[in-house]
């Protein structure tokens, strides 16, 4: 390394490696990022005041003390099965040992439901065909007999499964609930009230059956599952078993979500329309990732008072006041202050004066309102069960 030009070339080359990885790579990858959310709508750019607000946010260096980054946390999965596919064996195989005995029985019951209803339908069709036929042939009568037998077998098997599933249950309502969950899972449409009663459903709740059936979700895992654990199951359910289900991330230890900072982690598309992407340096003040979705911004007057003098809202706040973003106008006796003047408990902030937000303050407010963590395909909202729901 004594040749002067080589050092030059080497430096250029070595620097270009990190440039390639941290500048060229990300920039070219994210340059082509689509705003399309997948449902025909798009991640919209800010317009008007909100766009100007971004400049106010930048100019005043708000990004030093407030981050706009909601970080990820620890989470698990719940696989919520809402409707079974057609093939019982495949379903059993795919679900394997991932589910509880109780859920296995419920799925059995749902399949029995399918079979009994299918048998009933076959019988009805056969009877109808028999009635329609001008010449009643023994073949048709045989077919009816077979269908009748099949229905009978199905119903017997169904009853057995019911008694298995509900063996520990004495309450009729609970039994009904189990039945209707299985009914919802089976995905069959029963119009025949008589059949339902015959199958053991309590008459009094048949009219509400729709509601229970729609909530017939079984949770196949208990929140601790990681993607690696359930990867095969999810693929199998989707491609082979044809079931309908929803994979729902559930919080385990995710401070930003559990503390109500945001509904999910921040992703690149939250920043895609920013003129200057400012994810933040220090979290000295509140995290603003979901500022627009918090109650703090619901009332503009409250926000402006806070911006004008934070210690009017919270005595111990360490945020500097931004009085220079407001105008002070003298209000003569007898006149009322302008509509947008800052009020605290219904009165003007400074007696005899009206404090009015400048356009910059208004722009900042609009900008903050635009910060949200709504669901995106790459960032689904994680379920955050409240402690009360755990019991």
């Amino acid at each position: 390394m004594n040749k002067a030009p080589w050092i030059f070339l080497g430096v250029l080359f070595t620097l270009s490696l990190s440039w390639w990885g941290m500048v060229y790579g990300p920039a070219s990858q994210l340059a082509g990022q689509s705003a399309d959310k997948g449902d025909g709508t798009a991640v919209l750019p800010r317009v008007g005041l909100a766009k100007q607000g971004e400049q106010v946010y930048r100019e005043n260096g708000c990004y030093y003390c407030h981050t706009r980054t909601a970080t990820g946390g620890e989470f698990g999965y719940e696989l919520r099965l809402s409707q079974l596919g057609g093939d019982r064996e495949v379903t059993d195989e795919v679900l394997g040992e991932n589910i509880t005995v109780e859920n296995t029985r419920l799925i059995d019951l749902a399949f029995e439901f399918k079979y009994v209803v299918a048998a009933k339908k076959t019988l009805d069709d056969a009877n109808k065909a028999l009635a329609d036929a001008k010449e009643k042939t023994p073949e048709l009568e045989d077919a009816v007999a077979v269908a009748e037998k099949s229905l009978k077998n199905s119903a017997v098997s169904f009853k057995e499964v019911i008694s298995n599933v509900t063996e520990k249950t004495t309450d009729q309502n609970e039994k009904d609930t189990i039945l209707f969950r299985a009914y919802g899972l089976s995905g069959v449409e029963i119009k025949d009230k008589a059949l339902m009663i015959q199958l053991g459903m309590g008459e009094q709740i048949i009219d509400e059956h729709r509601k229970i059936a729609n909530e017939a979700i079984i949770k196949l895992t208990h929140g601790k599952a990681q993607w690696g654990d359930i990867e095969d199951m999810v693929r199998g359910l989707k491609t082979r078993a044809g079931a309908q289900f929803k994979l729902q991330p559930v919080v385990i230890d995710w401070p930003d979500v559990q503390n109500g900072v945001a509904l999910r982690q921040s992703v690149t598309r939250d920043f895609m329309h920013d003129t200057h992407a400012m994810p933040g340096v220090m979290q000295l003040g509140p995290n603003l990732a979901n500022a627009g979705g918090t109650p703090a911004l619901a009332d503009s007057n409250q926000f402006y008072v806070h911006l004008y003098q934070p210690r009017l809202i919270n005595e111990k706040s360490a945020m500097p006041p931004y009085r220079y973003l407001f105008r002070k106008i003298k209000v003569n006796a007898g006149e009322t202050s302008p509509k947008n003047a800052l009020k605290i408990k219904g009165k003007d902030l400074v007696a005899g004066y009206a404090i009015i937000p400048t356009e910059k303050a208004e722009a900042l407010f609009e900008f903050l309102k635009s910060l949200r963590t709504d669901a995106l395909p790459e960032a689904p909202i994680v379920d955050n069960p409240k402690p009360a729901d755990d019991q």
Partner: protein, 204 residues
């Protein structure tokens, strides 16, 4: 040992020695580099742009992405809360004896063309919904300004929400229905009678 080096007398310019780097360090470096590359290879999520921590795999993110129908319904909810919620309420219960409910209504589950006709032109009562009579309320042509996709979204939402259990509606269906409404030549708001007379299916 303490030497006092003085700034006052200047030694000659420094030169560099010939000590070799120990082989052990090289091996450790190669080993660590290998572990690092392996780690990056395991957790790079195929260099996908849409995988963000804490998620780890493109497949995982794809499995989490809501279905087209779910997105349609979610979008419908937003449109509903802008355009419909003032009269029909967020819980779809309607209001008093003037504005019929959408929750549990047989109308919203019924024929799509009828729903499109009503939203397109508006409706003047009386109307019977879920076994009850609703009288004086007059619905405006709330759906007239919506795009076909937006109308499909909001109708899908209403049909599926509140345990209504209806099916989602596609843009094609809405376009067909709109054509039918235009062909009927109706100018003002419908009444149930005129709706029926124009050939739209009225639920029992």
């Amino acid at each position: 040992m303490s030497e006092n080096f003085s700034n006052l007398n200047e030694p000659s310019e420094p030169s560099s020695g010939t000590a070799q780097m120990p082989m052990g360090i090289m091996i450790v470096l190669i080993l660590l580099g290998y572990i690092g590359c392996y780690n990056v290879d395991q957790w790079n999520a195929n260099f996908a742009a849409n995988v963000h921590a804490p998620f780890t795999e493109p497949d995982e993110v794809a499995s989490l992405a809501p279905s087209a129908e779910e997105l349609l319904v979610a979008r419908g909810k937003q449109i509903y809360s802008k355009n419909c919620v003032a009269c029909h309420q967020a819980n779809g219960a309607g209001s008093g004896t003037d504005i019929p409910p959408l929750a549990g209504s047989e109308w919203v589950k019924g024929d799509v063309a009828t729903i499109v006709a009503i939203t397109q032109k508006g409706l003047i009562g009386p109307i019977s919904v879920a076994g009850k009579k609703y009288g004086a309320g007059a619905m405006t042509a709330a759906g007239e300004t919506l795009g076909a996709d937006e109308l499909a979204a909001v109708i899908s939402y209403v049909r599926k929400e509140w345990s209504n259990g209806g099916s989602a509606v596609g843009v094609e269906e809405v376009n067909d229905a709109r054509k039918k409404v235009n062909d009927s030549g109706q100018s003002g708001q419908w009444e149930v009678k005129t709706l029926e007379a124009a050939g739209f299916i009225i639920p029992e």
